[in-house]
Symmetry: C2
Subunit: 302 residues, 2 copies
């Protein structure tokens, strides 16, 4: 089981090398991370995009693209389609967003003919390594699904479980977060969490999964807080997955971890037939590399 | 301007001593914090509650209650009423919750005859001292108002401004948080934040106040993140107040700060004619003392 981001990088190096298709690779930061991951032996990239611009960036940054497959395409919608098609056609294992709007890339991902559509919901899974916690924390969904209903939340949880299991977690503990521990009809987050817990009890999320809720963040990650508040659950103080009821809570917790708790992170979109790596401009270099490694390990173990 | 919790304690010691009425003082942790604050010269307490139980706890914990005014009352609703009445009747300056349900205490606070009701909305203001930030961060409302509408959010902001001004902030920068920076009709948090910003521009929040939004947490507290995302605002990276759109986001950010960023904190309910101190069982001893000091400084400077 991968418990740190360093474990993740090591696993990505050790396993079979995955092929990464990069949509609109003409982004300096993305290109640098892709070349680094390639040189570390984590991936074999295929760059789709404006070949001239890619070459100019590589020259400027001193990146050696010798031996890389580059598919020249200027139109962004077409760039997205080609990058995705490389994956659906079996020539690549996962895809990464470069200098292109997320919506354009996801439109290609969801395309019925050349895309990577499944029965699942697309959802964003972030993974944090934070000092003071004994393993990686998966946070979902602070980036894509805004105010999911119970069936959507169930799919979001399934995606996070798939990510956790791809990283070797046999037993996945999911905390459905809210502001309180008691189900309160005036707080939909608590009601939904109660329903999701019940679905878990009935086996909906499969073997080796415990879904608990509603619970506040302190109970999910601190055994001491759970003891003081007399909250008993195998998930208390030992959560792997934090499922948030709305995008604001996910975004807020994630940003607090990154900016105030100096957490390192990796992020990926799950729910398509292959992971989609999507990094933010404000991500550190290290976090971008972590995200490529995360996509790579999930692609190899799905 | 008070920039750290230590400044807050020092200010509370230095100023005129405030009288604190404690509702249902028969709580070991609360009583210990109250006695400590009293011995530090921050407050003069009046204990309302079960006198026998209070005495037994004091004996057990070795607390010296000599010279304290104690009002014996066993009935909890009556305890709350008496504690609140001490404030409305001018015999105390603020009130603190002991071993009593918050709802019982707040019912007395909101009582039209003996209570502390004003035109304002009651709201919870937390204050965090967190490493890596250059001043205190006020977070509201992660405890009371669940899904406030724009008029309620405006009142919540006014309460936080009142707290910040009572602590000597002449210029208060308010960040209306959301998950994105663009107003998006599908995300009510962004729409409301845009409206609140406009109200600020029109002078609704008074002199020396800048209300900005929508913005994600990173932009509110990191100038670097704001620069990378080209978000320009005097509030960017320099927020005093974080106003959250729903209780889940407030609760999540607050718990992340406390448990992962080792933040110290203080909390108080604003919007009544005197501050109401309300600490959680899971609060550290230090945080309980900070909350008493916070109530005291606000009571002295409202």
């Amino acid at each position: 089981m991968i418990k740190t981001l360093n474990d993740l990088i090591e696993q990505a190096k050790k396993q079979e090398k995955m092929k990464l298709s990069v949509a609109a690779a003409q982004d300096g930061e993305v290109l640098a991370a892709v070349v680094e991951a390639s040189e570390m032996g984590i991936i074999e990239p295929v760059l789709v995009g404006d070949e001239k611009a890619i070459g100019a960036i590589a020259d400027e940054k001193g990146l050696d693209l010798n031996g890389y497959r580059i598919i020249d395409e200027q139109d962004l919608a077409e760039t997205a389609r080609k990058a995705v098609w490389l994956v659906s056609g079996g020539q690549a294992d996962f895809v990464m967003k470069g200098l292109i709007d997320t919506s354009i890339l996801l439109k290609a991902v969801l395309d019925k003919e050349i895309g990577l559509r499944t029965e699942s919901q697309l959802s964003h899974v972030m993974m944090y390594e934070v000092k003071g916690y004994h393993k990686l924390l998966y946070l979902t969904d602070g980036g894509m699904n805004m105010y999911p209903d119970v069936p959507t939340k169930a799919k979001i949880i399934k995606n996070a479980i798939a990510a956790a299991k791809a990283l070797g977690n046999q037993n996945v503990k999911v905390a459905c977060l809210a502001a309180k521990e008691k189900v309160n009809p005036k707080m939909p987050a608590t009601v939904d969490a109660g329903e999701l817990k019940q679905m878990g009890v009935e086996g909906f999320f499969g073997e080796g999964v415990t879904v608990e809720g509603p619970m506040a963040l302190d109970l999910a990650i601190s055994k001491e807080a759970a003891e003081i508040k007399r909250y008993e659950s195998p998930v208390a103080g030992d959560a792997d997955v934090l499922m948030v009821p709305n995008i604001e809570m996910g975004n807020g917790i994630g940003k607090a971890l990154s900016y105030f708790a100096s957490a390192s992170s990796a992020g990926v979109i799950m729910g398509a037939s292959a992971p989609v790596v999507l990094v933010s401009r404000a991500d550190t270099h290290e976090n971008k590399l972590n995200s490529i490694a995360l996509g790579s390990v999930i692609a190899a173990n799905k």
